[in-house]
Amino acid sequence: MVRDVSFGQYFPTKSVLHRLDPRGKILMFIAYIVIIFCTFNYVSLGITAAFTLAFLVLSKISPKFYFKSLKVILIIVILTSLLNLFYGSGEPLWQWWIFRITLNGIHRAVFVTVRIICLILASSCLTFTTSPTELTDAIERLMKPLKVVHFPVHEVAMMMSLALRFVPTLLEETDKIMQAQKARGADMESGNLIKRVKALVPILIPLFVSAFRRAYDVATAMECRCYRGGAGRTRMKQIHLSARDFIAFALTALMIGGVIVCNILLTATI
């Protein structure tokens, strides 16, 4: 059902990754995204994939949840790899009508598949091991320099954390509304695409109305708890860099270095 979404969830398994500074984790994640698209041969691709697997093992979270998050993007992976498979250049290995498979195409398909899978696994790993509050707290701190240009850093971070908090609640609500509309005879499973999209309207309208009511309630509750914006707020969980963060930085640097060296020394496969 709709509720069966593991992306964006947090699992408090207290692993080494949980104890890393969330700011460091975000920065390392950004570096990781850049580097995974800079892998041009199998050795460097292997290095990044190995590091990804190491993250997953270190997170102490059941592989079941990683598979779940992969399931959601399965179609995208298949589609992009097929596109790449048929759009390679060079001598065709196999040809039928307009479809042409080349060695280059196969390489491309493998690269794009591994890259996307690694990307999803790594981002799941980040959200699984970092609580939403930590994540937004880190983003707030990383964006602090933007305050100079009057960017509302605290407000944006607060909005993000509230949005993350209410994802499961709103999903549950969508489920309830769908069931209520079905009970009144709404048909959401048959008909063509346009019909199905139209069938969503009686779900979206009550969902929006209740979301706005909810927002009003949440604001009241926040005011009741003395919320008055970011000024003068303190945090229960202090984040600071420790030795293990520097070890993590060193490992990330090692991965980046390895990929760059491989790219220089070995010829590019794609």
Binding site: Y10, S161, R165, T169, R214, R225, T234, M236
Partner: protein
Amino acid sequence: MSFISIQDVCFSYDEDSAAPKAVDGVSLDINAGEFVTIIGHNGCGKSTLAKHLNAMLLPDSGMVVVDGDDTADENKTFDIRAKVGLVLQNPDNQLVAGIVEEDVAFGPENLGVAPDEIRRRVDKALKAVDMYEYREHAPYKLSGGQKQRVAIAGILAIQPQCIVLDEPTAMLDPSGREEVISTLLKLNRENAITVVLITHYMDEAVLADRVVVMDGGKVLTQGTPEEVFSQVELLKKHRLDVPQSAELAYRLRGCGLKIQDIPLTQDDCVALLEEALR
């Protein structure tokens, strides 16, 4: 001097002065350490009155004084909200963080309390509502009663002297209601926190030191549960419920059975009937 003093408060959501007022000339004192319940129909003004107690709403006329401070004084707004915590009906909408302990920390974080002290307060508040084992859970995985207890812990962490609860059990199942009410009784007795409970469950109202009955924005009657619920006729006239045992005793009395007191709980009722029938 009472802790909260409500003096002839009128309030209307409508700008139009001819429209009926939500709260119409209410005067009420709430003493420190008291357990007060406010009962009444939907739309009788009890929720509106609750929002006056921590300066969420300001009276159109009259005044509300909390621990010596007028709620209309803007400089005191946050001092008042730190003294009088308000718990709302829907537990889902009161939890703002994705982890229980981080949610409880939200209040003290807003007040700028030092991190170590926040940790101490969060642990204490969670233990007080028996939710310490759930401190690292995600709120949406808890039951309604558990969520509402976390919401109460979130208010407790601000260390208020008084907690006002606006129908906290309305969306809960019987076991959730039981959890919340026993938590409130414990807080009132052991931690000497003043509790103002707004409810429409009569069996919750009878547990209080004092019951206030509201109707049409006015206070209809108030007193100890025995005093209030023995006025069966008055309550019936305003279409309010009385506890079942009180009603039974009242009707039997009407039939000529000699029952002196009005019982409020089942056990009292059984004992009284036994005596009367002997």
